[in-house]
C-alpha cells in the first residue's frame, strides 16, 4: 500500500529542488501542467466508479469488451473527387490496399443541395469531393462494391436524408436490403451553422429532418448510424479540446431532446448516434479527451435521459486527424504529425479512423500520400504493439488526472449552455461561434509570438529539402462532363413520375409525416438533388450566413 504521507513529504522535497533548477529556464514556465504527477493527484480515485471494464459502464476504458484484441478499428480514407466513375476507381484501389470501410467526400454543390449546373456551383464541381446530382451518379459511385459487406460513411449534413435515400435505393437495385446496410451519415446540421458552413435550411426545420432519419432508421435500417455528431469540425474551426467535447455534446443533447419531443424513445434511437472527433497534437491531452468524453456521455445518457440499453450510452466515435494543424511548409513533416495524432486516437479507443494525407494543406491528396495515410494506420495497428492490451494509459497519474479535469470542465460548459436555453439558442445568440473565433485567434497569436512552436513554420524554417508536389488536379472538364451527363439522365427519365414525387414530397414537408419514404420515392425517379432540395427550400426557407468575426 502506498503511504500517502510519505508521498506528500517526498513531493514537497522534490518541488523545492525543482523550483530552484527551473528558475534557470524561464521559458519553461509556459507549461500548463505539473512537472510530475503522483498518487496525490488521483487520491480519491475509485476504480469501479471511474473506469470499470472495457465494454461496461461508464465505458471509460472502451465501448467493446475486446476492443482491438477482437477487431481493429475501421480504417478509412476520406476520399472523393471529380465524377462518380473517377471516385469509384479510387475506392476500389483503397479497398484493395486493405481499407475496411469507405468514407465518401462529396463536392460542395452536393453538400449544399445544388446541382452541378447551378450558378453558385461554378468552379466547385468535383473539387472537394465527388459530384452527385442524381441516383445515377450514386449507382456509378458504388458500382462493383458490395454494400452488404462494406460500411460506408458519408460526410453529408444539410441534404443527408436525400443521400441516405439514394444509398437505400442503390442497395435495393443491388439486391441488398436496408437492414443489411451498414454505415453513417454525418447528418449533424447544428455544427454546420457554427463551424462547417454547409447548411441549407434554418436550424429548426433542419432538426426535423434529423429526427425523421432517426425514426426511419431505427425501424428500417437498424445497423445504420443515423448521425455522426461533429466534435471534429468545432475543434477545427477553433475550439479548445474541452469546448470540442462540450459544444458537440450540447448539440447532441438538442437532437435527443428533439427526438424525445417527437415521441421517440431514447433506447430506440440513441444506439444510432455516433461521433466524429479530431486528434490534435497534444498526445496526452487527446487521449484524456477521448476517455473523458466516453465517461461523461455515458453518465449524461443514463442520468439525464434515462437510457437503459448499453448501446444508447456508448460514445462510439470515428477519428479524423486534425487538418488545421497541417502546414504547407515542409509538408512531409505532416506525415509525422499525423502518426502521433493517430496514436492518440488508438490509445483513446477509437472505433474508426481516417488519417490526413501529408499534402492536404496544399491540395487534394495524391494516390501516394493517401496510401501512406492508410499505411500509417496499418503500421500502428500491426507493428507498434499498442493494440496488444486495452486502454494501456489507464492508471497513469497524469492521464487519469487530466481525464477527470476535462470531464469536469466540459460539464461546466454544458451546464452554461443549458442555462442559455440549449444549443439552438446558444447558436442563435452566436455564443459558440464567438468562443471558437476567440480561441482560434489566441492560438494563431501564440504561434506568432513563439509561445506555440510549429516546426517548419516558426522554428527550423529552412525549406531547402522540400521537393515539388504532385497533386491531383480536377480540371474544368469535370464540370462540363458532369453537367452533360445529368442532362442526359434528365432527358430520359419519366417526367410525370418526377413531378408527382416532388409534389408528394412537398406535401410531406408541409405536414408532420416522416419525409424519408417520400425522399426515397423521389430519388428513384431520378429527380436531381437540386430539384429535391429546391422543393424543401420552398417549404423550409434558407439560412443566411453571418458576418461576425
Amino acid at each position: 500500500m502506498t503511504d500517502y504521507t510519505k508521498v506528500k513529504a517526498g513531493l514537497a522535497t522534490y518541488e523545492a529542488k525543482v523550483a530552484k533548477a527551473t528558475a534557470k529556464f524561464p521559458e519553461r514556465k509556459k507549461f500548463a501542467v505539473k512537472s510530475v504527477y503522483t498518487p496525490l493527484d488521483i487520491e480519491d480515485f475509485d476504480y469501479n466508479d471511474k473506469l470499470g471494464f472495457p465494454g461496461s459502464y461508464p465505458f471509460t476504458r472502451g465501448v467493446q469488451p475486446t476492443m482491438y484484441r477482437g477487431r481493429l478499428w475501421t480504417m478509412r480514407a476520406y476520399a472523393g473527387f471529380a465524377t462518380a466513375e473517377e471516385t469509384n476507381a479510387r475506392y476500389k484501389y483503397l479497398l484493395q490496399a486493405g481499407q475496411t470501410g469507405l468514407s465518401v467526400a462529396m463536392d460542395l454543390p452536393t453538400q449544399i443541395g445544388l446541382d452541378s449546373d447551378a450558378a453558385l456551383s461554378h468552379g466547385e464541381v468535383g473539387k472537394v469531393g465527388v459530384a452527385i446530382d442524381t441516383l445515377d451518379d450514386m449507382e456509378k459511385l458504388f458500382d462493383g462494391i458490395p454494400l452488404d459487406k462494406v460500411s460506408t460513411s458519408m460526410t453529408i449534413n444539410g441534404p443527408a436524408a436525400v443521400l441516405l435515400a439514394m444509398y437505400v435505393a442503390v442497395g435495393e437495385k443491388k439486391g441488398v436490403k436496408p437492414e443489411q446496410l451498414r454505415g453513417t451519415i454525418q447528418n449533424d446540421v447544428l455544427k454546420e451553422y457554427i463551424a462547417r458552413g454547409t447548411y441549407i435550411f434554418p436550424p429548426r426545420p433542419s432538426m426535423r429532418l434529423v429526427t425523421d432519419t432517426f425514426a426511419y432508421c431505427s425501424k428500417n435500417i437498424p445497423k445504420w448510424n443515423t448521425i455522426s455528431v461533429g466534435a471534429y469540425h468545432i475543434r477545427e474551426a477553433g475550439a479548445s479540446p474541452v469546448q470540442e467535447i462540450a459544444f458537440a455534446f450540447s448539440n447532441a443533447i438538442a437532437y435527443i431532446e428533439g427526438a424525445i419531443k417527437a415521441g421517440q424513445k431514447v433506447d430506440d434511437f440513441a444506439p444510432g448516434i455516433s461521433w466524429i472527433f479530431t486528434a490534435g497534437l497534444n498526445l496526452f491531452e487527446e487521449i484524456a479527451k477521448f476517455r473523458a468524453a466516453r465517461r461523461l456521455w455515458a453518465r449524461l445518457m443514463k442520468e439525464r435521459f434515462g437510457a437503459t440499453v448499453p448501446k444508447a450510452m456508448m460514445l462510439r466515435f470515428h477519428t479524423h486527424t486534425a487538418g488545421s494543424v497541417l502546414t504547407a511548409q515542409q509538408p512531409l513533416n505532416n506525415a509525422v504529425r499525423v502518426t502521433w495524432q493517430a496514436l492518440s486516437a488508438i490509445l483513446g479507443g477509437t472505433q474508426s479512423m481516417a488519417c490526413c494525407a501529408y499534402d492536404e494543406a496544399l491540395a487534394l491528396p495524391s494516390e501516394a500520400s493517401a496510401t501512406l495515410a492508410l499505411r500509417t494506420q496499418q503500421m500502428l495497428a500491426l507493428e507498434s504493439g499498442i493494440t496488444d492490451t486495452i486502454d494501456p494509459m489507464a492508471g497513469s497519474y497524469y492521464v487519469e488526472a487530466l481525464t477527470d479535469k476535462m470531464e469536469k470542465e466540459a460539464m461546466e460548459y454544458i451546464e452554461k449552455i443549458d442555462k442559455m436555453g440549449g444549443a439552438v439558442a446558444a447558436i442563435e445568440q452566436g455564443y459558440m461561434q464567438g468562443e471558437m473565433a476567440a480561441h482560434a485567434y489566441a492560438y494563431q497569436k501564440g504561434i506568432e509570438d513563439g509561445h506555440i512552436t510549429v516546426v517548419g513554420v516558426n522554428k527550423y524554417t529552412d525549406n531547402k529539402a522540400l521537393g515539388k508536389q504532385e497533386n491531383v488536379v480536377v480540371d474544368m472538364t469535370v464540370a462540363e462532363r458532369q453537367i452533360k451527363h445529368t442532362n442526359e439522365i434528365k432527358a430520359k427519365r419519366d417526367q410525370k413520375a418526377v413531378a408527382k414525387a416532388l409534389a408528394d414530397l412537398k406535401k410531406a414537408c408541409e405536414g408532420t409525416e416522416n419525409t424519408m419514404p417520400y425522399l426515397i420515392a423521389a430519388v428513384k425517379t431520378y429527380a436531381t438533388l437540386g430539384e429535391i432540395c429546391g422543393v424543401m427550400k420552398e417549404v423550409f426557407g434558407e439560412y443566411k450566413s453571418s458576418s461576425a468575426f
Binding site: 466547385e124 454546420e192 462547417r196 458552413g197 474551426a237 494543406a361 473565433a437 516558426n458 508536389q469 468575426f549
Partner: protein
Amino acid sequence: MANVKVLVAKPGLDGHDRGAKVVARALRDAGFEVIYTGIRLTPEQIAEAALQDDVNVVALSLLSGAHNTLFPKVVELLKAKGMKNVLVIGGGVIPEADIPGLKAAGIKEVFTPGTPTTKVVEFIKANVK
C-alpha cells in the same frame, strides 16, 4: 493605417472560415477597418460589396480548390466597376503551381496555410494604394 478599409471575403461554397476570421481579427488589431462578408458569396456579390463599402483591399479566402475560377473573376469584376486601385490578395489551400497564374490574373499575393498574420499586415501596408 486607420484609413485603410479591408473587405475579407469568402467566394464560392466553401464554409471553412477559421482562417478568414483570424485574418480579419489580426487586420483589425493592426488598425485597419475590416468588413467580413460571411461565407458563400458569388464574385459579383463581393465586387458589389467592395464598391459599396469603398474598400482599399479585398482579401479572398478559399479552401475548396475553386480559386482558379473565382479569384480572377473577382478581379475582373472590380475592374469592370472602375475599382482599378483595389489591392486584391488571396489565401487558403492553394497549390504552389497555381500561384503564378493567380498573380498574372491580378491577385497581388497568395498566402498559404501556416503564414503568420503579420506577413499579411506588412504586405498590405507596403502595397495598398
